[in-house]
Amino acid sequence: MNQQVSPHTLPALPYADNALDPVITASTIGFHYGKHHRAYVDNLNRHIAGTEYADMSLEDIIRATSGKADKAGIFNNAAQIWNHTFYWKSLRPGGGGEPPAALKEKMEAEFGSVNTCKTVFSAAALTQFGSGWTWLVLDGESLKVVKTANADLPLTTGLKPLLTLDVWEHAYYLDYQNRRPDYVKAVLEKLINWDFALENIP
């Protein structure tokens, strides 16, 4: 048996599994982080063992396989590792509220107000049909909201991700069932990590 050392590991969750409760319960985190996120890591390691991708960084794998139909298995797992790691950081216990001044200014410059920015973000999250992600990104100097399907992510389209929201059903089904709007609203009000978004602005 050729024992391959797994190059990619599951990053630690930046808070306890019950820290986001009740907006996102420990049960949801248990599956989402403990099963889904972990499975993407395990699957990627299995897919790339012994291939040209074995020694690449996660971002290099994502860029090298993006848009290649025959590499979808590698891309999907690599991108989902990246997306989930970024998602956990986009949330924090006691989040939501007013964005820090520097981010607030950018939101006002681009959207007119913080509220309009949040409304545009919510609308993108609610209209992503099927599985996917909603993103606050930098396009050059300006803030934008974009949505992506399945494992797709803004990295591959030249945009700089600032924060993300997972709208795959597994992100909210145990806590909100079909009520995606309630999940999106609660996360924006109580968990979204505006400081993280600001840190990502170069």
Partner: protein
């Protein structure tokens, strides 16, 4: 018992009022053909209730709203879906969502499971080598659909059987898919179809599905397609 009666009557009333409002002749939100708990322990009652009365109902309502006042509303649903490439997203997604779920309910039954017999059983054996080989191929397609979607057993134009998978609410009737055909069996692999009972274990949900497949219904769809 009360829940069952309400379940039978409410959708009938709703569909009546919808046809009158929208003028869409074959667009109906039919009652679920069994009680919410009828497919337990394989599919739990809460999942069935949410799936039928929330998810499916929302697709139906959104479809009615999207068609209202448009010339598209005059066509039968299957004819409409066949032109998916030219449809607005709201009609394609909600039309597919309504058709797929209405079809899905019909190929399951509390008396389901077992092995298909007769013409269909023979056709499956001839097409896939054996029933087990068919199950394996269908399961593989269901496991490898990344994100939301459906898995289908279809009859092609030339009468042959094939397994295919579609993303989101697309289906094999649509001109947007790789291979078009007439569906005779469907499995919903959106996470909402199994998350409350099976969470990340899609494989366990697929295993459970075989216990509730109504092969008589599948055989009827097969024979109607010939």
């Amino acid at each position: 018992m009360k829940k069952w009666i309400l379940l039978m009557v409410l959708p009938a009333l709703l569909s009546l009022s919808c046809s009158q409002d929208g003028g869409v002749s074959d667009l109906r939100f039919d009652p679920l053909p069994y009680a919410y708990d009828a497919l337990e322990p394989y599919i739990d009652a809460e999942t069935m209730e949410l799936h039928y009365s929330r998810h499916h109902k929302a697709y139906f309502d959104n479809l009615v709203a999207a068609l209202k006042g448009t010339p598209l509303a005059r066509q039968p649903l299957e004819v409409l879906l066949a032109q998916a490439s030219r449809l607005p997203d709201a009609v394609r997604n909600n039309g597919g969502g309504h058709y797929n779920h209405a079809f899905f309910w019909k190929v399951m039954s509390p008396d389901g499971g077992g092995v298909p017999e007769g013409k269909l059983g023979e056709k499956i054996e001839a097409s896939f080598g054996s029933f087990d080989a068919f199950k394996e191929a269908f399961t593989k397609a269901a496991l490898s659909r990344f994100g939301s979607g459906w898995v289908w057993l279809c009859v092609a134009k030339d009468g042959s059987l094939f397994i295919t998978s579609t993303a989101n609410q697309d289906n094999p009737l649509m001109d947007t898919v790789e291979k078009q055909g007439k569906p005779i069996l469907a499995l919903d692999v959106w996470e909402h179809a199994y998350y409350l009972s099976y969470q990340n274990k899609r494989g366990s949900y697929i295993d459970a599905f075989w216990h509730v497949v109504d092969w008589d219904a599948v055989a009827a769809f097969f024979e109607a397609s010939l």
